[in-house]
Every structure is written in C-alpha cells, then in structure tokens.
Symmetry: C2
Subunit: 296 residues, 2 copies
C-alpha cells in the first residue's frame, strides 16, 4: 500500500495512492494514521474513490509532518565514507533533526540566511516506524517498520563542522524534503536493493543501491530500540551514498535557483527548487525581526 499526506483547504489529510488516484483516509496525516494499530487494514479496506483527485494535481505535505523522533545515520555507505575520509564504523553514528526542518516532497528548499555558503545534498532511504517497539531483535525490528520513503538530508557543511556536533548544520528550518509516499516493505522487497540517486540541475551526482548500506534498516531499528522506545511516525534517515558536494574537487554547493531531484527505485522522487530565505529581506533585517514567519 502507498500512503501520502495532502494539503487540503482544511489542513493536511492522509490519503492512499492507487496509480495516480488519491483516496482520503480518516486521519490528518500519515503520522497520525500510523498511531492506529489497525492502520494497514483501514488503509487497505477503504474503497478507491479518488476523492482527492490525481497525484499530479495535489499539493503534498511532508509525509509525516511532526515525527516524535527523527534519527539520522551518518557514514553508512562505503562509497560516502571514502569520500568523507571516515573509517569503517563498528556501530551506527546517530544524530538528530527537528521536525521544523521538514518540507513537502515538491516544496522549495530554503537556503538559510545564516548559512548560505556550503549547502550540500544527501539522498537518503528513510524508514517510517509503524508501531511501538523496544529492545527489538532484527525480526522484531522488521515488524515495526511501516514502510519506506525518501528524504534529502540537506546539510550546511560549514555549520555542521564548526563544532564537534553535526546538529547545527543538519536542522535548518525548511531544508529537508520528505516523501512523496510511504511504501510498505512488501511492495519494494523490504528496500533491500533499490537504486538511489540524486540529481542537481539534471546532472546525476549520487548513484548507488540500498544494498550498499553498511547497517541495514532492520539493524538500525534494532539498534535505536536498544536506546529508547520507537513510536509510530518516527523516522530513521539511513545515511547517504557517495557523490555529495563536499566530497567533490572542487566542492560543489547548492545555491538559489538550483533544482534537486532525489529518487529511490520503487518508492518515488522528490523534486525541489532551492530558494533564498526571505527574498528581498536582508539577513540583518531578518535578524531584527521577532515574528514567526513561514517560508513555505
């Protein structure tokens, strides 16, 4: 089954995708839907009505707008480790991202006013958790995985490496596209060997396969569950393959106007344009403002 979250006149809404048709499900978003233990039966039993029209005409929200946790994994593809000069890991390197970093799968990526100079791409297979789980072994981990989606863990490399901790470069507002759909594992062979790619202005920059992951989705879920309870709607971004801008000679960065396409075979594609934060407003004027404006 394929699920997505759609913007409607009355807010967001969960929907099932059949071919190009969107059918409304009784939840405000996919994260909320997953809280119902019967989410899969409910999603499958709903007749195809196409009451939200076609995917082509829909405006999609971040698949899970407010995940309880966003766990990100670093250096988890052999080729990316080589380009970042990182040693082979014995356990997963984990960091976090906050929900306000997320944008919809076709929304603009906002180049932050505070950190515009070294914005990089990171195509990532993303695990969506569908039920509670703690101290899981790998079979148990597979049972709590609702399915898979696509994210691009856009990173401000100067901020990421300005201190020992990467968080500051990883969680700028409205930088991380997520979606377009959750695809259950049975439709994509548990995401074991899917092509993953990232294109910038139509030129392929990253190309790998999820079989190149050092720690598999089930291994990552089991590991995180040894730390704390996984909950419906939690996301695990499993890491990115080689080909990021920071690893190129000379380095390459995203700037306003560039387009980014992030694809995973059998799941879908993110399409995003980079825009500057607060067009027409200088960074110093932005610094003086105290209101909560929204970019997207």
């Amino acid at each position: 089954v394929r699920l997505t979250t759609v913007h409607t006149a009355s807010g967001t809404h969960a929907a099932r995708l059949d071919s190009d048709l969107l059918t409304a499900l009784d939840a405000p978003d996919v994260g909320s839907l997953l809280i119902n233990p019967d989410w899969r039966a409910i999603a499958e039993a709903t007749p195809v009505t196409g009451d939200f029209g076609s995917l082509h005409d829909a405006l999609l929200a971040p698949l899970v707008p407010k995940p309880p946790k966003i766990v990100c994994v670093g250096i988890n593809y052999a080729d990316h480790m080589a380009e970042m000069n990182a040693p082979t890991p014995e356990r997963p390197t984990l960091f976090a991202k906050f929900a306000r970093a997320l944008v919809g799968p076709y929304d603009p990526i906002v180049i932050p006013a505070a950190a515009p100079d070294q914005i990089d791409w990171e195509a990532e297979l993303t695990v969506v958790i569908g039920s509670h789980g703690r101290h899981l072994d790998e079979p148990g981990a597979r049972r709590v995985i609702a399915g898979y989606t696509v994210a691009n863990d856009i990173s401000a490399r100067d901020w990421q490496f300005a201190t020992m901790q990467w968080l500051s470069g990883k969680t700028f507002e409205h930088t991380t596209p997520l979606g377009p759909v959750l695809v259950t594992g049975d439709e994509v062979d548990d995401a074991a060997d899917l092509k993953i790619a990232c294109e910038v202005d139509g030129i392929i920059k990253q190309r790998s396969r999820t079989s190149q992951l050092i720690f598999t989705p089930a291994q990552l879920v089991a590991h995180v569950s040894s730390m704390l309870t996984l909950e419906p709607g939690d996301l695990i971004l499993t890491g990115t393959p080689g080909g990021v801008g920071a690893g190129r000679t000379p380095p390459e960065w995203l700037v306003p106007g560039m387009s980014l396409t992030t694809r995973i075979e059998g799941i879908g594609s993110l399409h995003n344009i980079c825009i500057p934060e607060n067009v027409g407003m200088s960074a110093s004027a932005a610094s003086a403002a105290t209101t909560d404006w929204e970019q997207t």
Copy 2:
C-alpha cells in the same frame, strides 16, 4: 510565577505553585499551557485554591512531557571545558535529546541495560521557551523565554564517545530528570548568577554559578533562533559545570541504588534514585521483548 506538571488520576495537569500549595490550571501540562499566548495572565489570575494539595504530597511529571525540541549545549562552563580537555568554543556546540529520555523531578533514573557501565551526571540550568521566535536578537530572545527549570543531562559516556556524535549516549529512555518547576525570570534575576550543584549520595560533585556560563541563555536562544523557529515548550539545556564523573581520577559512575540531587538556587531541586532497567529481567530477555513497557 511558578508552574509545574502534576500526575493526577486522569492524567497529567498543569498547576501553579504558591508556597507549598498547588492550584490547578486549565491545561494537561506546562508545555500545553505555554501554547496559549495568555499563559502568564491566566496563570497569575487564577485564585489560589490549592485544589491539588501540597507539593509535598504530589507526584510530579516531567515539567514539559513532550517538548517540540530539546536542544542541549556542550562545553559551556569554563571549568567543565578544562576537565574534558576541550578548547574554548567560539560558538555553541549543540546536540539533541528526544522526549522519551525525560522523567519527572523525583522519578527514578533508569540505568540502561544496553549501557550500564559509564553513567555520568550533568546538572544543567534549562531554558523553557514560551512563545514563537525566529532570528531573534538578545532582547527578542529574552522575550521568548518563559522561564527556567532544572535538568540533569545523564550521559552514558561509553556510548557518547563510541562514535563522533554524542546523541547515542544522551537520549536513553527515562534518564533525564526535568523540573520540578518553571520559574519566570523576574523571580530569579533572569537566572544570571544562581548557584548550581549536583550531589551523589549526599556528596557534592558539581558546584558552580550560572554566571560561569560562556554562552548565556539569551545568547543561546538567539543563536538557535537563527537556525529554526523556537516554539512554546522547547527546552534548551545550557550545559554543565565541572565535576562530572568522567573528569575525576579515577572516573566515577552512577550505579543502581545511588541517589542524585541536582539543585539550582531560586528554582528548585531534582531528587532521583538510580535503578536498573527491568529489575529481575536479564538484558538478553529484554532484547527478545517487543512490547512497550514503561519504567516509571
């Protein structure tokens, strides 16, 4: 004004504290109360009824049970930097913690089955955000601070330093006591120079003053707001002074049965006993379980 979150027969509830008396406020917890822009006027206008009895008899929950963000600051006291052999920072070192790490101010701290060997203490002044804010200067930052509370950023040092990213050692389930109360800045001179201390089994291990913070609460809030929008209920743990177990010769660690007291002058104290995870259940049996059990 002093606010807290109380366990009741019907779930948690926000309350105002007057001397030892708890008066119910119309919100399930302090985080939910802060979402109302008039939270302060509402809290102050409510007559003292003491309908939740005395603080002494109450069971307190984590002050904000589900913060939208928990931002933690590393190496932010000069004395702690010296003991951890860290250079003087030019900008704050930030990392995250997930909400499931939190426990109430008098709850047990659960020594994780996965990481029982190097559990350390970190007394921290904690900023509670009371309104939305983005790109704030320092005066703007002061306006979005609802008040201050106390946390102990309990850390599993072996897991913290097993990879480059500290998150794995910082967010074990039910390890971070938070509370007992939110105190507004007017009652504690904006937390500018308060005694902060941590005792283990009655012996003082950390003792400093918040005037020793390298980055002040307002500076930290302004900095984080350059990254993303602050929201009501967000927490910023501002870092810990010298005297942690890892910095001692020989190193000292928390084990089950030890008691921990974390005090900040004018705010309050956390009192917590360390307990093992899943008493009577071996770690391997815990590994096989797939249900979501609760420790506290």
